[in-house]
């Protein structure tokens, strides 16, 4: 089993990686700190699992060398689990990458990181609803303070490939949801 940490630049993938594996890769507060991948190991249910800190990428259509590395990493690990790290205060654009990865058939778990920043900005995300719509586990985290990391680990087993068609159907259902009264 292999776990890839993916997400936009500067959302905290390297922080996640260090917390998960106890490794030391450089973390900074700017995009493009990680330009190459780093492998590490964590134990999950008594087994050694490989974790890869993948350079940040905005989409699966690479724009620079670091993004090329990211996309190549994903392509060569067909059966990998992907922890998609999203900046909670920028959910929409984070979801774009998450959906792209899901469309490729990977088992995805979403970590809504920097929950504190979103809170500062008064942005609230309904995790349960998001989880229900997407069909993949969604966990709020503040990786830098080690909050939510163990929850991500414990929910890894719930990650499974999802057909985006189900999401679109689900969305159609939500749009016409009589009970909640919203469209």
């Amino acid at each position: 089993m292999k776990i890839l940490l993916m997400g936009h630049p500067n959302v905290g993938k390297s922080v996640f990686f260090n917390r998960l594996t106890g490794a030391n890769v450089i973390e900074s507060n700017y995009s493009g700190t990680t330009v190459d991948y780093t492998r590490g190991y964590m134990s999950l249910d008594g087994k050694e699992v490989e974790v890869v800190d993948v350079p940040g990428t905005f989409s699966l259509d690479p724009k620079d060398r670091a993004e090329e590395v990211a996309v190549a990493m994903l392509k060569e690990a067909k059966d990998a689990y992907v922890i998609c790290v999203i900046d909670s205060s920028k959910l929409e654009r984070g979801l774009y990458l998450a959906l792209q990865i899901m469309e490729e058939g990977y088992s995805v778990i979403i970590a809504l990181n920097m929950d504190d920043v979103a809170e500062d900005k008064n942005i609230k995300i309904d995790n349960q609803k998001l989880e229900q719509v997407l069909g993949v586990p969604v966990v709020s985290t503040i990786a830098i303070e080690n909050i939510g990391i163990s929850k991500v680990i414990s929910r890894l087993k719930d990650a499974k490939p999802v057909d985006v068609e189900d999401i679109t159907v689900m969305r159609a259902g939500m749009n016409h949801c009589g009970r909640c009264g919203r469209t």
């Binding site: 030391n24 900074s28 700017y30 493009g32 008064n122 942005i123 995300i125 309904d126 830098i144």
Partner: protein, 412 residues
Amino acid sequence: MKLNPDERWDLIDSIARHVVTYGEYRHTLKDAIGELTVKPMTGLPIAIAVMYCFWSVFGSFAGTLCTDGFFVKLFDGYWLPWLQEVFPGKGGWIYSILIDAGGMTNGEFILSDNCFEAFGVLTSGLFVAIGVVLPAIVIFYLMLTLLEDIGYMPRLAVLIDTVLHKIGLHGYAIVPTILSLGCNVPAVTATRILETRKQRFIMMTLLAIFIPCGAQLGIMEEVIPDLIGYVLLYLVIGYFIFGFILNRIVPGKSPEILIDVPQYQKPMMTNVRRKLWMRVSSFFKVAVPFVLLGCVVVNVLYLVGFIQWLGDLLAPVFVGWFGVPKETAGPLIAAFLRKDLAVAQLSVIEMTQYQMLSAVVLVSIYFPCVATFAMMLKEGWKELIGSVAVLTVVVFLYGGIIHLIGKLLGVA
């Protein structure tokens, strides 16, 4: 099933509408500071102040406090005399390599009285590595790490964007540039954040030629404190002139970028400590062996007479074209292994101030150190060959220009 970008965005929009609620946004102090540091009117003066602070702290901590205040006293006052005393075989070749090559005056063997002149592996080698370079690297990386973790770097990138576009790069090139001031090796890898091959080539070439590393800055602060400003001025001017030319002649594109400016953050001390340790230790794993090896190689080459021979051979170029003494041949060989060592070696050669200035600039722009060289090879041999070709032209052209400027000013 796969979606096309429009379908994907539509889907995201409707998901977001259901799961996200936006409260009223309050303008925080963090935002206010964020804006002040990124708008040119206020941002530029702040950037200059930040860089000035960086430089003053670097100089006063590394040079004045640690090196002059402590290590010079320790090494010159105790370590060197003690080793000179207890090590057997004074005047022999092992003694010359490990302790002190000394000098012959009136047929008598005279020991050196400081760790720059001795040039032994255990004297100058250790002194340069621990006494000069260690404090410089520690303080440099401490300040860099703080700037990084606070989130200042992307703001600097925004401010300098326009200028760097003139040399075919963009604001984000400030990241490899500043990293390079610590050590060129990780900076070469950091060029990957640039989009096109053209940009990466220009950046890699410019940093290999014009950006002195932290070790070299530290030693320059120590041995030529009066000249370091001029050296840096020549390097900065060179960086822009040759960047401008490269931008014209290298084929390829230099796209615009969108910079993601993160919120300011309070640096976490655990992270700062860990990062500092990682950078300093990985720097030293590369640096110390090369400094020591450099001492051995240079000493052996002196002993067998190779450097004198090379000096005589290159004398017309050195004296006539660059205007520096032929003895600088030795340091130039050392420079391939370690530039800090080369500057230390230059400092004990008799020459005028302007010759010293020219020689230090030459050591900087001439060949990158071997570790950087290896790193560039890893990024692509075509790029490496290109860079070396550019470098050769630059050394001759710029070295000659510097000599000419000296002549025109009447100081060379």
